[in-house]
Symmetry: C2
Subunit: 231 residues, 2 copies
DNA sequence: TGGTTGATTATGCGTCTGTATAGTCTGGGA
DNA sequence: TCCCAGACTATACAGACGCATAATCAACCA
């Protein structure tokens, strides 16, 4: 396994598209990883082809195999990379206990990738979800402290649901953007989403009396048919 | 394009599956649709093969093409079918204004299919999402009435986000179930999710003072780098 | 200078998938 | 009885994809 080396003075690393932001004088290995992250996040694992990643990275499909063993290995490499990046980001967030950073967690650059991977059942991103749940759990602890009543449901269960809900937003970004009238990953959309989430999170969506009635009535409701499962 | 015809000799192509467990004496055409719904919901559109659907339905791949034109046409047929079913379900829900039915909307049988289709960017399910947003919007209207303050963000924007959040739960059912310790589509899990959602929805997750500070601080925050986009 | 190593490419192979086509079987009307 | 429409199957074809291999090229070291 080669490390992130600086390429030899290869001058012809340049046929690529990128100029504006960041660096395009990256290692081919790094370019492949970046291209894979974008493609996996945008198109999903299945729809993404090795050839497409290679084309975006400006290399041949064979080189991809040379650096990463297979398509699945490349996915795992991306997963581990993102896992590290999230760890790093979490450390920064913990030092700055602002709520905004936490709220828009899933709107970050890696959010799209994580969301896609979780929905695609990537075998190695389970721990990422669990860690996000743990983060939400710690956050819920503070919320529970300022609650008059006692929560009736285990905190981790609620944390898992809140986490899944947060991830649902970038997952359905296309439809959300359509409802917003602007790209939710664009500057305006990102701000709009953050402000809306702050409003949503800071208010109860249903009355506690209604919830109590519904919860009581739920336990005795025998409803809806079941569909057969695929053998 | 043939419609849902009644097969000549077959005893019944009855409105099907309404009662308890559906039967296997369905039209081949109906069996194909049922199998496709399950496969698409469980494996996603791309991972699902025509041959797999045919095998589950107990027919040959050719018959699938005979009834539905192509794989994409089959998907559209499923979308329209689910769209009708949701319409029908909505009518029932509106007559029974219980909150529980609304909360567990995405836990219904078709929820998995809708969630998958939305995440898979199915071209014909956009209207379904928009309708769910409208439902949520109507629901938010009642919530806003019992709010002391005035919402700062457009109601439809908040409705879209809440809708996406709700759909995120069945989408990440695998990870949610792992955190729950039981299958969230099973009897226990379904009840647990419903009760947890009632608890979550009936309480603010962050304080309004915190939210105000965060919202104020957000507009002047210049944070995080941007990643390049694929051309 | 010569040779080894690693980055990189070109090319081909086997498989899977969607699609197309031709053929088979069955029931019901004339 | 004939026969044909429609449900259904078997098989084949073309393309795409992941994967593998061999060849080429540049740099570094003895």
């Amino acid at each position: 396994m080669t490390t992130e080396r600086t390429p030899p003075p290869t001058p012809a690393d340049r046929p690529i598209k990128e100029r504006s932001v960041a660096f395009e004088d990256l290692t081919a290995r790094a370019r492949i990883r970046e291209a894979a992250l974008e493609h996996f996040a945008r198109d999903g694992y299945d729809r993404t082809t090795i050839r497409a990643i290679a084309k975006t990275a400006g290399v041949s499909p064979g080189l991809l195999r040379h650096h990463y063993g297979s398509k699945e290995d490349l996915r795992e490499a991306c997963d581990h990379y993102v896992f590290e990046m999230i760890h790093r980001a979490n450390a920064e967030i913990l030092s700055d206990p602002g709520a905004a950073a936490e709220v828009q967690e899933t709107s970050k650059p890696f959010g799209r990738y994580v969301a896609r991977s979780l929905a695609d059942d990537s075998p190695t991103v389970g721990p990422i979800f669990d860690e996000l749940v743990t983060m939400t759990e710690a956050w819920l602890t503070r919320a529970d402290d300022s609650r008059p009543d006692t929560p009736t449901v285990d905190r981790r269960v609620r944390a898992a649901l809140v986490t899944a809900m947060k991830i649902g937003i970038p997952l359905l970004h296309e439809h959300v953007s359509r409802a917003l009238g602007t790209d939710m990953f664009g500057p305006d959309g990102e701000r709009l989403v953050a402000l809306a989430l702050l409003d949503i999170y800071s208010h109860a969506l249903i009355g506690q009396d209604v919830a109590a009635v519904a919860a009581a009535g739920y336990n005795e409701a025998q409803h809806q048919y079941r569909r057969r499962a695929i053998p």
